[in-house]
């Protein structure tokens, strides 16, 4: 559906050149939710803006549904863009127009009749749950409501693709959840392919099927979300994932256990909890386990859990670890200073 081939983008100014993207290739399948994550300045916005050619790539191809957009004349590009919706961090609504007009004006400009416009506006306002706000001005709405209006505006053109540039970054956690739920629903109900960018792992975990991690204008790792969680290789990816598994054990406790048996990081894919395997090894071996921290994140269709466990019982600890590995748990020994 969306295919980026070796896309590079360099911004030239009088004095310098900034290479925002270098040789990025991505492939987003039809009906998929694809996330791009990276720290500030990684080139995420530039990347997503290249997809609808708001930013013209210096090199490479942007192929949407088989058509290379980089070679299209302006009028053909406009036609294509009408089928690619986009939502933004700052909503980008007309401040001087009502919610209704914000959706209706672009529709009218694409040549729809008045009754068609009216039908679409009402339909998509209902989809985003704002049917009662059609006469309000954006200034009278909350951030979450504004984002819903902008989602309705994007949907009203009945696009096949929705691009989301940090759509939840300006929202509080609760509103973020509701907007993410809405995006998931849109993906499932209308089969719209979604490409989103974010700097929050939580967003990736909750709604994405696949993810690409960006740094310094390059994709450093990509794959299905669960694989990336289970086998991340790049330090940046690890940092993003670690941010969801904070170590909560108090400093004093860490000091008392230092040197008394291994501390291991256990990762589980699919299991709802690691508890049963842990009690199993305590029964089978002469060890005690002490959970320093643990968290489970729920992904679209799987869960991924991680625990930091202190295993005491010097002689049996290695055997216990082997047993854990046999049970399909990923075990990684960690240094206290690293956690």
């Amino acid at each position: 559906m969306i295919e980026l081939k070796n896309v590079s983008k360099t911004f030239y100014s009088k004095k310098s050149a900034v290479q925002a993207l270098s040789g990025v290739s991505l492939n987003v399948g039809k009906g998929e939710v694809f996330g791009v994550i990276g720290y500030s300045g990684a080139g995420k916005s530039t990347l997503i803006r290249c997809v609808n050619l708001l930013e013209k790539p210096t090199e490479g191809q942007v192929i949407i549904d088989g058509t290379d957009l980089t070679g299209l004349p302006a009028s053909k590009l406009r036609e294509k863009r009408q089928k690619i919706g986009m939502i933004f961090q700052h909503f980008n609504l007309l401040k001087t127009a009502t919610v209704y007009e914000n959706i209706a004006i672009p529709l009218k400009l694409t040549g729809l009749s008045k009754t068609e416009v009216d039908e679409r506006v009402k339909k998509y306002l209902a989809v985003v749950g704002l049917d009662d706000k059609s006469d309000a001005y954006p200034g009278q709405l909350s951030g979450g409501q504004k984002q819903r209006v902008s989602i309705a505006r994007a949907l009203s053109h009945e696009p096949e693709i929705l691009l989301s540039d940090e759509a939840t970054s300006a929202l509080d956690p609760e509103t973020t959840e509701s907007i993410l739920d809405l995006l998931l629903r849109i993906n499932r109900e209308f089969g719209i392919t979604i490409l989103l960018i974010t700097h929050e792992m939580h967003v990736i975990q909750k709604v994405c099927d696949r993810v690409a991690v960006m740094e310094g204008g390059e994709v450093v790792e990509q794959g299905s979300v669960i694989d990336v969680y289970a086998q991340s290789a790049h330090p940046t990816t690890k940092k993003f994932i670690d941010s969801q598994f904070p170590i909560e054990a108090p400093e004093s406790m860490l000091k008392t256990i230092a040197g008394k048996g291994p501390i291991v990081k256990l990762s589980f894919v699919g299991h709802s909890t690691g508890q049963p395997v842990l009690s199993e090894i305590v029964k089978r071996f002469d060890v005690h386990t002490n959970i320093l921290s643990g968290n489970i994140v729920q992904m679209k269709d799987e869960s991924y859990g991680r625990m930091i466990v202190h295993i005491s019982g010097e002689t049996d600890a290695p055997k216990a670890i082997e047993a854990l590995k046999d049970a399909g748990v990923q075990v990684e020994e960690v240094n206290l200073d690293d956690v």
Partner: protein
């Protein structure tokens, strides 16, 4: 000398009425034409900027300098300087008709600048959102840029209108009349203080009225 309203109106009423009409005519016509010229110029100034939709360094620089040059010339100089041009365009350089041309030449570049400022204030993100939706540039100009800039455009036009009223005071020099001219000819040259005070009061009321009308309209259009 005591002020007798009845006698004053009897003696000067028709002159003042006539002058008021002339002022309204000059301001109304010159403003309309200046908007028709100034607004598109302002749009062109914004769109030909580096990195904008119609990026054109030469046109932008030319307009920029051209507008600055005209705006540097005091109205009184402009009035006489372009006499031949006025003659050529409207066939006369006298009367209300003759003064419209210099008034427009004076006001249109000013309006272009004010429009440029207003349009530049429009959130880039909104324009981008419309580009992303595949909207045509001319639709974006009208339905996004000008629409969103309306409150600020109205305030700019208010300033321009008040400047225009000031400029019409000098229109008397080419026999166009108006309130400013009345105050000058009778009040100043012939020591008819009453006439001068009354016309000045009328001008103050006019300027005040236009300013508050502008402020209110802008506030009403703003919606946030």
């Amino acid at each position: 000398m005591t002020f007798n309203p009845a006698e004053f109106i009897d003696r000067w009423g028709s002159n003042i009425w006539q002058a008021t009409i002339e002022t309204f005519q000059m301001v109304g016509i010159a403003l309309s034409i200046s908007i028709v010229i100034g607004l598109p110029l302002g749009v062109i100034l914004v769109l030909t900027r580096p990195g904008k939709a119609l990026d054109n360094k030469y046109l932008y620089q030319f307009l920029n300098v051209f507008i600055n040059v005209i705006r540097s010339i005091p109205f009184i100089i402009l009035l006489f300087f372009i006499l031949p041009f006025t003659q050529l365009i409207v066939g006369t350089s006298m009367g209300v008709r003759g003064v419209i041309v210099p008034l427009v030449v004076y006001t249109a570049p000013y309006i272009a600048r004010l429009m440029e400022n207003s349009l530049l204030e429009v959130d880039k993100g909104i324009i981008e959102a419309y580009e992303a939706m595949g909207m045509k540039t001319r639709h974006i100009i009208w339905h996004v840029m000008i629409r969103e800039a309306r409150p600020s455009i109205i305030l700019g036009l208010t300033i321009a209108t008040i400047g225009l009223i000031g400029a019409t005071a000098m229109a008397g020099l080419v026999g166009a009349g108006g309130l400013g001219d009345l105050a000058y000819r009778f009040g100043h040259l012939r020591y008819e203080e009453d006439v001068m005070i009354v016309t000045v009061i009328l001008l103050i009321i006019l300027v005040q009225g236009i300013q508050s009308l502008g402020n209110r309209t802008a506030a009403w259009l703003k919606k946030d």
